[in-house]
């Protein structure tokens, strides 16, 4: 039963990798693109580099992972806080909603260098960029979840001596939880992009930084290796949130 779920995507990925391997190692890709062979690495070469330079790559991945975890965490806290505040007061929601939407329209590529000028090469500009990207999906999906609260259940609870806080805890939070998880999963997928942009704007460490350096030195195979690790981080984070959701939201 389980195999029916993970086998098809695995086979597809293996098939595409095989195709790439053939096309690259036979020199076909390089010929078509009119490039030197070393600029078009085959999957086997990328795996080789990943193994040889594993210390360097994982060291940098650690930095990026910390940035992602911190930025995502900040977005989660602020997104939930804003959604709850919006739910609590109509005035606050009407006043604040345009700002939330505006936060998503800020071009990250533009704002990233400014943040580096302000906050330096440390973790702060990356953290802010990642949380800026993650904030919107978390806030909007949480709000959406809160809107699904059944007004009749709320009245039932009021009639059965439920305080405002009790109703929030026992009715509104569980109703909103699936929305929170949806937002968190989308945020996890885009957090990695934020980290790379942040590091490109100015950094001395991290996978984005490594990619930029390797690009300058035409070390294409190691660039691919870094990209591979980046997507591994995104997929793991996404899967982790999915597992958490299944453990918590058991009534669905």
């Amino acid at each position: 039963m389980k195999a029916r779920i993970w086998l098809p995507p695995l086979l597809l990925v293996l098939f595409l990798l095989g195709l790439w391997q053939l096309a690259a190692s036979s020199g076909f890709l390089a010929d078509v693109l009119g490039l030197e062979d070393f600029l078009v690495p085959a999957p086997s070469e990328i795996a080789d580099v990943l193994w040889q330079d594993r210390d360097l790559i994982f060291d940098n991945a650690g930095t990026t992972l910390v940035e992602i975890a911190a930025g995502f965490g900040l977005a989660l806290i602020s997104g939930l806080a804003v959604a709850v505040a919006f739910r609590g007061s109509d005035l606050v929601r009407r006043a604040g909603y345009p700002l939330v939407v505006a936060s998503q329209t800020i071009p990250v590529i533009v704002i990233a260098p400014v943040l580096v000028v302000w906050f330096g090469y440390g973790i702060w500009p990356k953290l802010l960029i990642i949380s800026l990207i993650c904030f919107f999906p978390i806030t909007v999906n949480t709000l959406d979840g809160l809107r699904r609260v059944d007004p009749e259940a709320v009245r039932m609870m009021r009639s059965l001596d439920g305080s405002r806080m009790t109703i929030f805890r026992r009715v509104e939070v569980p109703t909103a939880l699936p929305g929170v998880f949806t937002g968190a999963r989308i945020a996890a997928a885009v957090a990695v992009i934020g980290a790379v942009f942040g590091e490109w704007a100015g950094s001395d460490k991290g996978l984005g930084h490594l990619i930029l350096q390797d690009n300058a030195q035409l070390m294409t195979a190691r660039m691919f290796a870094s990209v591979f690790v980046l997507s591994l981080i995104a997929i793991s984070l996404y899967a982790l949130i999915g597992l958490l959701e299944r453990a918590v939201v058991r009534w669905r």
Partner: protein, 257 residues
């Protein structure tokens, strides 16, 4: 544990829409009054106003001497038409909601609810999730949840309307001693004529919108014998005809307007 409910000249409007056009009713302590009337006669609104979940536009409602909404909310337990069981809680935790809300520990609350589960034929379903229960069982869990609040007044909004005819008849029979033992004063909204007469001490008929109380007749609550026998007796038939006549006459009046 007993309380009276009364309404005088109660009116309510939603924006331009007149929903209640002057309702008078009186429930003695421990009595059960059924509200019968065509759909759209504002029965549910009347129930929510009585329970302090809504402010009326005009007139007076009193529960146990309290005329303000907060006081009425304190005195009443409202049971909506849909059972409103929370899917993230087990049947037992749903039933013990009111007790937990009132500050009892979860263990104590579960213990009290579990006793009712035994009584009400729900034994073995304590840890079941609401969607694993049948319609009749869900409704019984909702009844336990409402009863355990120990409020002096129960407001029941068509509690059996969603059930099939056989289950509904069973629950009517089950409900009779349950409500009697609770000692609560009950306001029951229903559009089922038989249910109104069988369960209620008295039945008040509402007109079509805007709902006004147009007549009150005696019900047959506490008639000895099984439900089947009661509802097929000549006395019950006469009551049924009387109530149907009242509902029909006024519906005709509503349509002619």
């Amino acid at each position: 544990m007993t309380a009276t409910v009364s309404a005088r000249g109660l009116t309510h409007r939603f924006g331009p829409l007149d929903v209640l056009g002057g309702v008078d009713l009186e429930i003695e302590a421990g009595a059960l009054l059924a509200l019968a009337g065509p759909s759209g006669s504002g029965k549910s609104t009347l129930l929510e106003i009585t329970g302090g979940l809504r402010e009326q536009s005009g007139g007076l409602v009193e529960v146990n001497g309290s005329a303000d909404a907060a006081g009425r909310l304190r005195g009443c337990a409202w049971m909506p038409q849909r059972d409103c069981l929370l899917p993230w809680y087990s049947a037992l935790d749903n039933a013990s909601l009111a007790l937990v809300n009132q500050g009892k520990s979860r263990r104590e609350a579960r213990k009290s609810a579990a006793e009712r589960f035994e009584h009400f034929g729900l034994e073995g379903f304590e840890t079941a999730r609401p969607d694993e229960l049948s319609g009749g069982m869900r409704q019984r869990v909702a009844f336990i949840r409402t009863l355990l609040s120990a409020k002096p007044v129960l407001l029941l909004d068509e509690p059996l309307a969603a059930l099939d005819a056989i289950t509904r008849a069973e629950l009517q029979e089950w409900l009779t001693p349950v409500l009697r033992e609770s000692g609560a004063t009950v306001l029951l909204v229903t559009h089922d004529v038989e249910e109104a007469i069988y369960l209620a001490d008295r039945v008040t008929v509402l007109s079509p919108r805007p709902g006004r109380s147009i007549a009150t007749i005696d019900g047959m609550r506490g008639s000895p014998g099984r439900r089947d026998e009661v509802v097929s007796s000549p006395a019950f038939n006469r009551k049924r005809e009387e109530l149907l006549g009242l509902l029909r006459s006024d519906q005709a009046r509503g349509a002619a307007r």
